[in-house]
């Protein structure tokens, strides 16, 4: 039965997405902006000490709740104003970015490696191991991470490390489930059978055939996870069970501003925008990567 190629036109159409020229330009533009934002974030995180005008944790009781410079009563010294303890918002925003990014990247590194390892073992070996790992993965996926973070908060006390553990303890499940699906498909594929026929060792098959074909999905998930982790970290910090004060974190900054919404609403406004911008860019890069590398992953 030859490959049923019923409507040749439609097939090419679907792959090309049938987009008009205008949208294609937008799409290219659509990837430049997010990339710029991400690079900016990384740079500010690395060079935070140089960029931040003030020490983010230095209280200044005289200059409390100053509005941003461009509003009446604002001072040029504090471009984005100050919070209820007189600390400079801009510096806290810059250092907050550093904290959020480092927590997220560390958590991603942990979850990606555990998840991929379990995914490939379950997918490639199959049988009872696969059944067990998938049962645990389904459990981990359906359990609210926030509650577990609370438990950890009490169990091992607040701290940078606790947040990373809180993000990673369930985060690996997403990778495991998806990578397992990919590995299963690859194990049954013709070219893996072919490799076994010529006598390639299981190790060679894993590294030369399975892993290269899984990297695409891995890259896509990791990019999309950047946003997810930042959102999760900021939620924990907002609730006060994330990064402990006084270290600045975008989530805790929003929480600090919660009380002064009527008088100093900008304290909560700017960190929220920062989170949104960064996560939006992360997701755009992830979507662009998925379209380029692996359109089948659409439902992610």
């Amino acid at each position: 039965m030859p490959e049923p190629n019923t409507n040749v036109g439609a097939m090419t159409v679907r792959k090309a997405g049938g987009l008009s020229r205008g949208v294609r330009v937008l799409r290219n533009l659509g990837i430049i902006i997010p990339l710029v934002v991400i690079t900016l974030l990384v740079l500010t995180a690395i060079f935070a000490p140089l960029l931040a005008p003030h020490n983010p944790t230095e209280n200044n009781m005289l200059a409390r709740r100053l509005p941003p410079a461009f509003m009446t009563g604002g001072s040029a010294d504090h471009l984005l104003g100050t919070d209820k303890l007189g600390r400079d918002n801009l510096s806290r925003l810059i250092y907050g970015g550093r904290v959020s990014l480092s927590v997220s990247l560390l958590a991603i590194a942990i979850t990606a490696s555990i998840g991929t390892f379990l995914g490939i073992t379950a997918g490639y070996l199959g049988g009872r191991i696969d059944g067990f790992i998938m049962r645990v993965t389904d459990m981990a996926l359906s359990f609210p991470a926030l509650l577990l973070a609370m438990l950890l908060q009490i169990g091992i006390g607040p701290g940078f490390f606790t947040v990373v553990v809180a993000l990673s303890i369930l985060g690996w499940a997403g990778y495991a489930r998806l990578i397992r699906g990919e590995a299963l498909k690859l194990r049954n594929s013709d070219f893996v059978a072919q490799a076994r026929i010529i006598g390639a060792s299981p190790l060679r098959i894993m590294f030369r055939h399975i892993f290269p074909n899984v990297i695409n999905s891995l890259l896509v998930i990791m990019t999309l996870q950047v946003g997810m982790m930042i959102l999760m970290e900021s939620a924990l910090s907002y609730l006060g069970i994330g990064i402990p004060a006084p270290t600045p974190s975008w989530g805790s900054m929003v929480a600090d501003g919660r009380g002064d919404l009527d008088s100093a609403w900008w304290i909560s406004l700017f960190p929220g925008i920062a989170i949104g911008l960064v996560v939006l860019s992360g997701n755009f890069v992830g979507d662009w990567l998925r379209d380029k590398l692996d359109p089948r992953l659409r439902q992610l």
Binding site: P144, I154, Y238, L239, R258, L261, S268, G276, R298, Q299
Partner: protein, 307 residues
């Protein structure tokens, strides 16, 4: 089919015991738990009293057995901070959480399905682009920040809706909106892509060949098949909703389980946190079971395999 449900329930119970052990150990892993519970102004006797009350002076296995037997009697222990039985406190909080959770779930799901299908059936139209942008934005903005901004705009400036507590129906609007915001983007996107996949299939082409009006093709043939893959994510989404509930209750001062949990964490009220985690675990199990049963209802092949 009944046999299948029985096995699934059995498995859930085993998993539940697993979680109990995990929770039990997690709270005792950091050496002496009392040091965590001790707040500065507690005298030595009070600490000893709590120590004894918690049974922490006994060896671990015995503690666990004690903990299990209490649980079996439905006794979730007493709150260290409020000296009230935990089951009573949860009895007050749980209904409030459900009063917020259930309407949000219904509104959120139906909205997600309507918008997802709308986007899929009018591919690349302004509707589709708009909904996609809404979904992308929704998945990027932090829920707690959006809620605060909503309060800023609708409560402080426009005075449309009251905030804090749940006394009048108007108090429900912003919290439910926030909860819907948590679940809408992810589900909407999934419904759209699942619908697109189904609309590409041969049996949908055959439905059109039969001359069926597009309405029937979509609502009868496509929808039921498109329900299957979002169902798999429902379990994950439910976890997200519970996390969302904790945040929403904290922001809007909603007297539900979420706020109870937060207070318990800050008050180091360790039995309360433990009880809440267990109850959530039971809810999660029930949800997974419901999803499995719904599977069999929608997809006859699974029903056939399981009988």
């Amino acid at each position: 089919m009944a046999r299948f449900v029985l096995i699934r329930v059995l498995q859930s119970i085993i998993a539940l015991i697993g979680i109990m052990v995990l929770v039990f150990l997690l709270l005792r892993v950091s050496g002496d738990p009392v040091t965590l519970i001790r707040s500065p102004n507690m005298s030595e006797e009070q600490v000893q009293a709590i120590y004894h009350q918690m049974g922490l002076d006994k060896p671990l296995p015995q503690q666990f057995w004690l903990y299990l037997s209490e649980l079996a009697r439905g006794d979730l222990g007493t709150s260290l901070v409020k000296q009230r039985p935990v089951s009573e406190m949860i009895g007050d909080a749980l209904p409030n959480t459900l009063k917020l959770g259930i309407p949000s779930f219904i509104i959120g799901m139906s909205l997600a399905f309507l918008l997802g299908m709308l986007a899929a059936t009018r591919r690349d139209s302004i509707w589709d682009q708009g909904i996609k942008f809404l979904a992308v934005l929704g998945q990027a903005l932090p829920g707690f920040w959006v809620a605060i901004m909503a309060i800023l705009i609708f409560y402080q400036n426009l005075r449309w809706f009251p905030v804090g507590g749940m006394s009048t129906p108007a108090h429900y609007v912003l919290p439910v909106a926030t909860m819907v915001f948590f679940m809408l983007p992810g589900m909407m996107r999934l419904v759209r892509s699942s619908m697109l996949d189904v609309l590409d299939t041969e049996y949908i082409k055959l439905a059109r060949i039969k001359g069926l009006p597009e309405r029937t093709v979509i609502w009868k043939h496509a929808l039921r098949n498109a329900l299957i893959s979002p169902l798999t994510i429902l379990g994950m989404l439910f976890a997200g909703i519970i996390s969302g509930a904790v945040i929403t209750e904290q922001i809007f001062n909603w007297p539900g389980m979420g706020r109870l949990a937060i207070e318990a964490v800050f008050g180091r009220d360790f039995p309360v946190v433990q009880a809440i985690v267990l109850i959530v675990a039971v809810m999660v199990m029930a949800m997974n079971l419901l999803v499995d049963i719904a599977y069999a209802y929608i997809d006859p092949q699974i029903r056939y395999q399981r009988s």
